[in-house]
Structures are given as structure tokens and as C-alpha cells.
Amino acid sequence: MNYLNYAGEAFLLIPLSAIFLNNICNKRFIEKHFHILTGAVALLQMIAAVFAFYIMDANQMLNFDFSVFGSSKITGIELFDINPVSLVFLFCIGMVAFVSVMISIRTIDVKKGSYVNLLMTLLIGMNGMVMVSDLFSLYVFLDVIGISSFVMIAMFRSRKGLEGSIKYLIISEIASIFILMGLSFISMKTGSLSFKDIGRNLLTNTFELQTILIYAAIILMIAGFSIKAGIVPFHSWLPDAHQSADTSISVLLSGIVIKIAGIYGIYVLTNIFGGIKAYQVSLAGLGIISVVVGALLAACQSHFKRIVAYSSVSQMGYILLGLSTGSTLGIVGAVAHVFSHAAFKSTLFTNAAAIHEQTGTLEIDEMGGLQSRMPVTAFSSTIAFLSTAGIPPFAGFWSKLLIVMALWGSGNQILAGFALCASILTSAYFLRLQKKVFFGKTPEHLSSVTEVTGSIKFAEILLTAVTCIVGVLFPLIIIFLHSRGLI
């Protein structure tokens, strides 16, 4: 169990020491080699997650409590806790951070030191959030994520960046108010905010007012985490923030931040309130609206990153649908979709970075015919789009199928059928994107475009391989989950 303790601590201490290293070392040296430092941190995180997963599986553990710096236990504030689900999230964080570093090598020319500091702070926030075991610490790490994202968006001080940042900041702070209010209401009833205690004390019926407040708390926290996840109707900040940031940062925001800050929060709530019918219905309602409206809005955008950002809104809806079932199958489907979404959304943002580097624009009306000039980018974006649209045999299909099966099993047949057919909207807006960007006539100013090289190409190939391989080998994952009695 010592190894698990080391692994758990590593998730927090490695980024922390990277910050120290970054600020102690010679500035010029760091600017030159920043990608080695950050890339190593991301890789170590992935390795640690796989390693911890292997140990937990070998010992048949479902969760493991540990402490950082040997901090003592206080009533109400539990220690950190890792479990298989949080390890999947941790792996996704490492993967997307790695992709972000790969992109940043090409796109970030100034303020490399700040980028490292902020990325590491963001990593601490996200890793902390998926490992904590009480609601208040969850909130603290949530704001660490929030603050580092605000600064990252505004980092280059362009008009767009500042505008996206301030929109995100205001709406996100409202979300924080909601969440904090919700958890104070819960604490009025239960006296403790640790996940285990809340579930235990929630059912005891003591005081009329506090029971009402619990329901208020559920509404407030769903709203708060939905804002963070960019669920319709709380999505207005998301495309603005994701469009205006540098691509290496939008890949983080769209690929993982909304999922950790929003979806993981809702996952925690599901563990606590999952049995309440009203909770399930509201999640399902938000989910299906998000799926449809997100896709429709994506279909009428003209900026590459905006389309992809709205696509995130739509996909978050599927994850909510999976969580709304409250069944193990639904949660497995949702977590699988988190992973496949991290893979294909990172691919699409990497493509955006490639196109921006080579053509200097991301307005899809100004592009065309890039398929013959940038074959690798075109191919990887096609695979990512197919995975997003849930076309087999790619990873997105399986996670979507599991979600739909769970929905069907929980008695929402019509909703399941509707969610499945809504994938066609995904196909529709991606076909439009493909047509405008990669096919059609090439405008004259793009006639000398060539394929992107170096780290971005490497990231594209790597992510495409991940999407394909996970998709083709997904039956093995099903066998594994079945053998562990999960589905």
C-alpha cells in the first residue's frame, strides 16, 4: 500500500515541484526547455495513474485513503481518496496536458514561464479535485481550477482573450456562489461534508426546514456544476472562452477542465443523491436539451474552435444522460465517454492548432481544399469526427452505446432512442466543417499551404491511434469490467 500512497502523493507533489523548479532555474534555460519539464510531468501523471490502477486492481481495492505530508485527520475533513474512477480521470488529465504541451511548443512564443506555472497550478487543481473526499475541499480545488483557467485565457492580453476571460470569470463565480451555498445547506442538515457522512445522514429525518434546504442545495449544486460544465442553458460562456484562448489552452479547457470542474462534480453528486427521482429527471432533462441545442448551435458557427466548443456542449449532454441513470452501467458509460471525449476533442483542437499554424486563420469560410495539402490533419479530424458522431468502430461509439443501453435499461426508452438519433446532428455539423475546411475549392491565398510538422503532427497521429485502438479493443474493456463484476 506504500506504493499507492506514493502514487497518490505524486499527483499533487510532482506539479508542485515543477512550479518550484520552473521558478528557481535560470529563466532562459527554462524558456528553452519548458516542454521537457511540462511534458515529463504529464507523462509521469499518466504512468502513475496506470501504475496505481494496476496495484488497486491486483489487490482488489475499490478505494484507498491517504494523506499528503502526513496531515492529521480533523472531524469533517477527510483525507484524500483515490478510486478507479478518479484514476481514469487522472489519466485523462495527464493525456490532455501532454497534448497541450505538444501544441504549446509551436503556438506559445512568449510568457513560457507563466504557461508552465499556470499549467501546473491547473494540474494541481484538477488532480486535487478528483482525489478529495469532502465537498468543501472539492470547492477549494474547483476554484483553483477556475482561477488558473481565467488567467490562462487572459494570459496574452489580447482583446478577445480578456473578453473571454471576464465572461468566464463572472459566470463561473456565480457558479461558485451556488455551489458554496448548496454545500452550506447540506452541512446544516448533515453536520459534515465528507462524502460518506452526507450519504449516511441525509436520510435521517430531523427538521422540516433542513429537508427543504437539501432540495434547494441539490438544485443549486446541479446549476453550479452545470455552469462549470457548460451545459445548456448555462453554456453561454463556453464557446467565448474556448475560442479566445490560445489553442494549447483551449484544448485543456474543452478537453478536460469542463469535465473535471463540471462533470466530476455532478458525478460526486450522483454518488450522494443518485437515488432521488427528481435528481435523475433533472439531469436527464438538462442532458437531452444540451445534446440537441449544443449540436444545433454548432451547426451555425463559422469559427473552427467555436464549432468544436459547441460540440463539447453537446457531448457533455451525453455524459449527463449517462449519469442520470444512476446505474453502474450508466456511470461506466459516462466515464468511458469522458475518456473518449478527451481523446477526440483533443484531436480536433490539435487540428485547429495545425490549421492555424499553417494558414493563419480559423474562419471556415476562408478555407477550403486543405485535404490534399494537409492529409494527416484531414485524416485525423475525420476520425475524430466519426468518433464524436458515434460511428463504430471508434471509441466514441462504444461509450455512447453504453450510455444508451443504461438509459434504456432504466426505463427511459424514448429518451434513449432520441439521444441516439440526435447523433445525426453531430454528423451534420461535422460534415459541414469537413466540407468547408478540407474539401471544396482552395482559395488562392492558401495555395502554398503545407502539412504541419513536428510536435503537432505527432500529437495528431498519437491521438488518432488512441481513438482507433480503444475503439477496436473496447470489447476487451467490457470483458475486464465484467470480470470485476462492474457491469
Binding site: 480533523i74 478577445k160 480578456l162 463572472i170 461558485s176 456562489i177 458554496l180 451555498m181
Partner: protein
């Protein structure tokens, strides 16, 4: 019914409504952060109230101090972004922000 807890809850809700109203009504960035701060103060009060109601005042203190620290950092970041915008536009009117649409 009209005991201490309900009165405090009521006052808190009023403060939140006041904060939200402030955010909606004004177009000045600094006034928006003031609105957010007012609402945050109400939430902080709820945390203390929760401590009072469940008898863990020590824990509530820890929560409140952490929440205040976070609040301050948010205010600082907000101010930083606002200064950036002020340098670009020359005033602090949020109606200037029209670059991102769609």
C-alpha cells in the same frame, strides 16, 4: 417559526438577491465584482450559520477563512483582467465587449 436561523437565512437570501441585482443592473466592471462580493458574503454567512446549526463552529471557521482567501484571489484576478480591458478600451463599460459573438 420566526427563530434566529430563519431570520438569518432570510437576510442571506436578501443579500444574494441584492448582489445579483447589482450584477445585472450595472454595466461597470468594478460594480459587478462588488455585486459578486456581496453575494459571496451572504454565502459566507450561510457557512457560519451551518456551523451554528450543526454545532461544529471550529470547522465553520476553517471553511470561512478558506472561502475568504479564495474570494480575495478571485477579486484580484478580476481586477487584473479589468485593468487589461481598461488599457484597451479606456473605460470600464462591459458593453464594449463585443468581439466574441455567435
Amino acid at each position: 417559526m420566526l427563530n434566529f436561523q430563519t431570520i438569518m437565512l432570510f437576510v442571506g437570501f436578501l443579500m444574494i438577491i441584492a448582489g445579483c441585482y447589482c450584477m445585472i443592473r450595472t454595466y461597470h466592471m468594478l460594480k459587478i465584482i462588488i455585486g459578486i462580493e456581496v453575494a459571496m458574503k451572504a454565502v459566507t454567512m450561510f457557512l457560519i450559520l451551518a456551523g451554528y446549526m450543526n454545532g461544529h463552529m471550529g470547522l465553520a471557521q476553517a471553511y470561512v477563512i478558506t472561502a475568504i482567501v479564495i474570494e480575495v484571489i478571485v477579486a484580484v484576478v478580476f481586477a487584473g483582467v479589468t485593468i487589461g480591458l481598461y488599457k484597451k478600451y479606456g473605460n470600464m463599460d462591459i458593453r464594449n465587449l463585443t468581439e466574441l459573438k455567435g
